[in-house]
Symmetry: C2
Subunit: 305 residues, 2 copies
DNA sequence: TTAGGGCGATGCATTTTTTGCACCGCATTG
DNA sequence: CAATGCGGTGCAAAAAATGCATCGCCCTAA
């Protein structure tokens, strides 16, 4: 929409930190850009940027206005989606910020199912840790978030939540693989691989370990869940992960078992959106599909325990 | 804001039902307006109006877009208010849709109090019955509504509610004026003046009368509460009204007493806004003041019973 | 059946707005 | 103290919006 161009320019200036750079980014002369910004500020009644010797920076009024623009633009997209829905073929775009655990199995499946029914809808999936995911929602960069054990929950509206145990993942010939019940102390006594503190799994582990005056001291600490799964094949260590990101491979090389709930309480895997926001049609329906899928997953998983 | 002009034009066309009329309203040539509408429709990707031989009418897509515009414009006002708040002086405008009962005493007092503290804030007060008031909120025409016994309550978010008995108002020499407890049947047996069915007071009366197989058959039925209060001075009939709109005049000519709660249950006087909407600063703070005032009113009124 | 009026759409000249270019003043930096 | 990078401005060119005259259409009333 051309009439929002001024806002896009303001956003670009805010991002670039300088009018000249923003002008280049937006394929405009610095002078033209400058005058649009100044003109808008005059019309709006207040300056939006602090003028510094090295460039410009948003002032609080600018922050407020930029937030308004993002909300407006997002709502316009929703309307466009609804209108497209009205005219027949469903179109739209769904953006998701999610934990790594959803990437190998759950999300690809769900997206494929949705796209089979609605080929006009596109997706963007961004890996974000639990605090980043909430920021994404707040800035309208993502419509939905799926995170394990969210941090703040302000402006975060839960659509659906399912409990997830913390599972131990290891090679099938690992000594612990034959145990009926795996205790946390058993894991901490052997070489283990764990995510960094930013992740919910680690948070639960640290909390549980502290309760029994132990420490999580991983031989490898990583941000990649995939690395965890593959590393344990080499050193024959144990890794930690939530079951929705795990599936026993066909060759039987890897096994996963929940840690005893006596030691580590299950956390919540939460599907959510920004509080109070009306999602675009496509995102809202995909969220409903995800909620159903999560519920089904939970049901079937309970049966196998 | 000049960049929203196209939306204002769309709204004007929707209201006028014809481009030529709208063009006149907006001080523009019909051709210029026509091209802006067509241009926007092309950019937006869909027609917004049905073209009829007699003019144009919004289609569903247009309705959707217009609603988006209203939400956007209202949010922009809120931002402007917040920005003004940021720079010091509080400015803004508060629009209220309310029942007549609030007009003589309650609202004038409250507005005066607020404006004494914030002279930069202006008000608009519109008399609306309970169903109109809810529509006003939904179309962003009013920020706040104060109504007695609202109808639908969809998209209506209650900020504060207080119970209000239905009072009988009559001349001080009326036979009923000396009763300790006034029963509904006493009122229906004598000439009475009542509001029309659109109003909550009448709704409660009708409901209560039906329970005892009686009918409300007013000698004068009116939409004006003021007329009710003045008419009973002439014919010496009884009128019905809620206490917040009543105050015993200094000359003692008029008295009001609640109808027994055995006959007519108290209704709710409700202060509300559109569900989920973030109000402008001024409106939000005025709403808080109103809520407090209503609570105080209720407290002091309970004491006098 | 036809004439008239109101409707939205369009071609063209005019006006208004936006843009690009060149340049200024200023502050920071090596 | 020159060089660089910044926001801001005067002026002419380019682009967009507008007004005017006019078209074709459909409904209505004589």
């Amino acid at each position: 929409m051309r009439y929002l161009q001024t806002f896009r320019l303001i956003e670009a200036v805010a991002r670039a930190g300088s009018m000249r750079k923003a002008a280049e980014d937006m394929n405009l002369t610095a002078s033209a850009l400058n005058r649009r910004i100044n003109g808008f500020e005059e019309e709006f009644g207040t300056e939006l940027f602090e003028r510094l010797p090295s460039g410009v920076r948003l002032n609080p009024a600018g922050e407020l206005l930029l937030h308004h623009y993002r909300a407006t633009a997002s709502d316009l997209e929703r309307v466009q989606g609804q209108v497209a829905d009205l005219t027949g073929e469903r179109r739209g775009h769904v953006s998701i910020a999610c934990s790594q655990a959803l990437l190998p199995y759950f999300l690809p499946e769900q997206i494929a199912i949705y796209r089979a029914a609605h080929p006009g809808v596109t997706f963007s999936v961004n890996i974000r840790d639990r605090s980043q995911a909430e920021q994404e929602l707040a800035s309208y960069s993502s419509d939905l978030a799926i995170v394990f054990e969210p941090v703040y929950l302000v402006d975060f509206e839960v659509i659906h939540a399912i409990p997830q145990t913390v599972d131990v993942v290891m090679r099938s010939d690992h000594p612990l693989a034959s145990h009926d019940e795996i205790r946390l102390r058993d894991c901490l006594d052997v070489p283990h691989v764990a995510p960094t503190h930013r992740f919910g799994v680690r948070h639960l582990l640290d909390f549980a370990a502290r309760r029994s005056s132990r420490h999580v001291s991983p031989v490898v600490e990583t941000e990649s869940f995939e690395l965890i799964r593959h590393y344990v094949l080499h050193e024959n260590a144990v890794g930690f992960q939530i079951p929705i990101g795990l599936r026993t491979p066909g060759d039987g090389s890897l096994v996963s078992k929940p840690i005893s709930e006596r030691d580590v309480a299950p956390g919540n895997l939460i599907l959510g959106q920004m509080r109070g926001r009306t999602l675009p049609v496509a995102s809202a329906r995909f969220a409903m599909q995800l909620a159903t899928a999560l519920k089904d997953y939970q049901t079937s998983h309970e049966l196998t325990i």
